[in-house]
């Protein structure tokens, strides 16, 4: 049944997102090129740098895996949609992000530092209602005489970027800029999020009041509620530097106050993409009611009763082929680091991320101990409205010109199914 597919889609998205993480730790790690991902002005060390990185992030305010599952005595899990519903809020969000910084190269010239590189990024945000989960899991019989809010919201983009960066230092002031040529792999985005299903208490007449729109490039095909296809890619070079093009810019500055204090400000991912490969917009904006079959219309007719077709037609998404554009979620960073001693340093970073009304903010505090010349360990506390108690750890190792780091949030629940958010960032850089 279609409901199984929908549940599967939500659960699969949740599970797959558990292996995603984006964190802010590496802003506080000294001497790694990846700091410049936050701010192009921070690519300010060494003559030649080669770097690579991986980032994964998952975050939900809905049920965790442990809410959805129960352990079998012999090992293994039983996944239950009903258990998930019991743990849901009326409205639930899932956020996922993954990135692969394939290669970054930075060269310092006498006049300016020049950098270039490639990255693949995918980010998804989905908001679903408890009503939707109830409907696809248990049906509408428990909601006779009521209206269910079924509209999901989804914003997903998958793209490659190739950039050219410039950085210049003016004494204690460093400034940087990156120009990114974007190439979209696929996208799905919803607009106008209204699908209200009312079930009458008479003979369960159904009314769907919709004002809903799904935009897609390459990822979503819809025929009817029984026949649709959602097919998302992982790391992909599809369409690379051909269509679905766009531009984005990063701007940043940092200011060093003496040897101990560094202050930074940056804006990252200012831009967007024009989606023109297999663009589809599905719209529904009407009030449709199914009162039941009027049998009198079938007298002296060879037509078959079409109850299922009539129900499916309640949500009639009309397809048009229109190119559309999406903005990247622009991130603003304001941060600083203070070196207390050779062993300890502390820092803070404020991030606001998103676009329009889909913007979230976080503030993080960091303490880092440089234990050896080759080893540093950091602890990070982040505060965001959906979670007030996130402690993360990071570790960095240095061997000559090579520096690697690994960091993660939510350290007390890492690997636990109780976790509703998790992330991981790993990076490697060679600096001469």
């Amino acid at each position: 049944m279609q409901s199984i597919r929908l549940i599967g889609m939500i659960v699969a998205m949740s599970i797959s997102s558990f292996v995603q993480a984006q964190n802010l730790h590496y802003y506080f790690i000294d001497n790694v090129f990846q700091r410049s991902y936050f701010n192009p002005a921070l690519d300010n060390k060494g003559n030649i740098t080669i770097a690579s990185g991986l980032g994964l992030d998952f975050n939900t305010n809905g049920p965790s895996i442990s809410d959805v599952t129960t352990r079998k005595p012999e090992g293994g899990l039983i996944i239950s949609a009903s258990d998930a519903i019991a743990a849901m809020n009326d409205v639930n969000d899932i956020y996922g992000y993954s990135s692969v910084n394939t290669l970054d190269v930075s060269v310092n010239t006498p006049f300016v530092r020049i950098s270039a590189g490639h990255a693949w990024k995918a980010q998804a945000w989905m908001q679903y209602t408890k009503d939707l989960a109830e409907f696809v899991t248990n049906g509408n019989a428990a909601f006779v005489g009521e209206t269910m809010n079924l509209a999901p919201q989804l914003d997903y983009i998958n793209y490659n970027e190739v950039y050219l960066g410039l950085q210049k230092s003016f004494g204690p002031l460093n400034v940087g800029v990156r120009i990114k040529r974007l190439s979209g792999v696929e996208a799905i985005r919803t607009e106008n999020h209204k699908i209200d299903l009312t079930t009458s208490d008479d003979i369960y007449q159904l009314t769907v009041d919709s004002d809903f729109e799904i935009r897609s490039s390459r990822a979503f095909d819809y025929t009817d509620i029984e026949n649709f296809n959602l097919d998302v890619e992982a790391f992909s070079f599809d369409n690379f530097m051909q269509n679905n093009g766009g531009w984005a810019f990063d701007f940043g500055a940092s200011f060093n106050v003496g040897d101990r204090l560094e202050l930074t400000l940056s804006a990252v991912d200012i831009g967007g993409l024009d989606w023109d490969v297999d663009p589809k917009i599905y719209r529904s904006n009407e009030v449709q009611t199914f009162d039941g079959i009027d049998v009198s219309e079938y007298i002296s007719s060879d037509d078959e009763f079409v109850i299922l077709d009539s129900i499916e037609a309640l949500l009639d998404l009309v397809e048009t082929n229109e190119a559309f554009n999406t903005s990247l979620p622009t991130k603003l960073f304001l941060g600083g680091k203070f070196k207390i001693s050779d062993l300890w340093s502390v820092g803070a970073l404020v991030q606001t991320n998103g676009s329009g009304d889909r913007r979230s903010s976080v503030i993080v505090f960091n303490g880092t101990a440089r234990l050896y010349s080759f080893l540093s360990v950091g602890v990070l506390y982040s505060y965001r409205s959906s979670n007030l108690s996130n402690i993360g750890l990071n570790i960095s190792l240095n061997a000559g010109p090579v520096t690697g780091f690994l960091s993660t949030d939510n350290i007390f629940r890492i690997g636990s199914f109780d976790s509703t958010f998790s992330n991981l960032r790993a990076g490697l850089s060679i600096r001469i």
């Binding site: 599952t69 239950s80 049906g139 050896y372 360990v377 690997g415």
Partner: protein, 509 residues
Amino acid sequence: MQNLNTSKIVSLLLLFFLVLSCSDYRDLNDIERAEEEVELAVPLVNTEFEVSDFTGENAPENVSIRVDQDDRVTLIYNGDVVRQPVAEIFPPVPFFGVQLEDTSFTVPIPFASDQRVDRAIFGNSKFSVGFTSEFAEDIDVKLTIPQLSKDGNIFEMDLTIPYTGSLPNEYNSEFTSVEDWVLISEDNIITIIYDARLSDGTRVKFDDAFLIFDLVTFDYIEGYFGSEVFDIQGDFIAIGVLDNWVSGGLSFEDPKVKVFVENAFGFPVRSIFKKMQVVTTTGEFLDMESDVIDNNVDFNYPSLDEIGQIKITEFSFNRDNSNIVDLFKEKVVRVTYDIDAGANPDMDESITGFVNEDSYFLVNVDVELPLEGTVNNLVLQDTVDLDMSDFEDVISAEFKNVITNDFPADVTLQGYFFDGNNVLLDSLFKERLLLPAAEVNPATGRTSEGADVITFEDFEEGRFENLKSGKKILVNVKINTQQASSGPLWIYNDYGVRFKIGAKLKTKY
């Protein structure tokens, strides 16, 4: 290393990786899905059968209704309109030829012997002449038909038979139209005269001469057309009310068979009833008995000074002049009829009639059933094929029925499910569903709006599973007006039966 010792550092790192190693994710290798139960509440049927549903695009094709000023309903079953044009009453004379044995030769016009044609105007008729010449030169021919005239001129035609260089010289003329030429011939003949001359003026006769007509039609004929009987095609009218009758009785107070005739032929015509019968549900043929049949009916017709007019004749078989009320008590499913038309039934040759190209007979027979009567335990039954594939995943169901009956008749309803081998599986309702008659106001004879009857029918898991092999459902309806009134009742136009059925369908996945 200044303020932290090595063991603490190592402990911290171990803790870091210990936490990572305590992952729950190994359980992801073995995931099962818990069974869930879905219950969908959906409307299934929401329909209202009103009297007007007997008409309109979804009703049987031959039914219409008439509502009088008091909102009372009469069902009208329309028979096919039988229209017979002049070509079927007076068929055209097909292709024919005659040998012209002399330079003046008489050809008979093929009218019946008891018909007298005083005057006729040819339609689109054409003829050709042929000659075989033994003369080695061109020959001029003048063809004359004295019985044909137009605008005061006798029909004449000049021909030249060119010499082709060899003998005998065979010649066939082009076809010539005589349309609009007037034929006046007391003896129903035409005379063909040809005058053939050599170049020196010598008149000659051909050894072989002939005339052929491709098709002889007339736009107008005036005269006496004899006492022929014209066969007007018979037909039947299906009365669908009792197609599915099983038992019980239905009585109409005033059924009628109405005959409507249009006549544009200009001579006396009288009906000849070859067949007027009803067919019952048992296949029995019963004759209509009526003075109308015994005495026949003279159809109105236009006179010579009413050429082009259409005369209408209407008559009916009703409770006052026939046994129709008794016939319809026998559960009629069809009325069959075959009516011919006899021309000049009194054989009065002094009556000069006419036929023109637009003349026709049109006969239309309708059956009218004013819906006033009684229904006595009438049981109707029909079988409907089922397709349960939509419910393949359903394990149980609860149906909610909301039914309203405005008619002054108790209606009880039951359905029986059968599999492909006609084995009874179950019934639709555990108890036969009763739709009580709406209350009749004695002052007006009309009912007030019926009350909603709400019932729930539970098909629990085993019961519903049993129905999935169902291939057809037999619907049995019993109707009775006796509880509402002992006498006949009228059906009014605003009466109806409303069926609303919703279901809660449960499935597991």
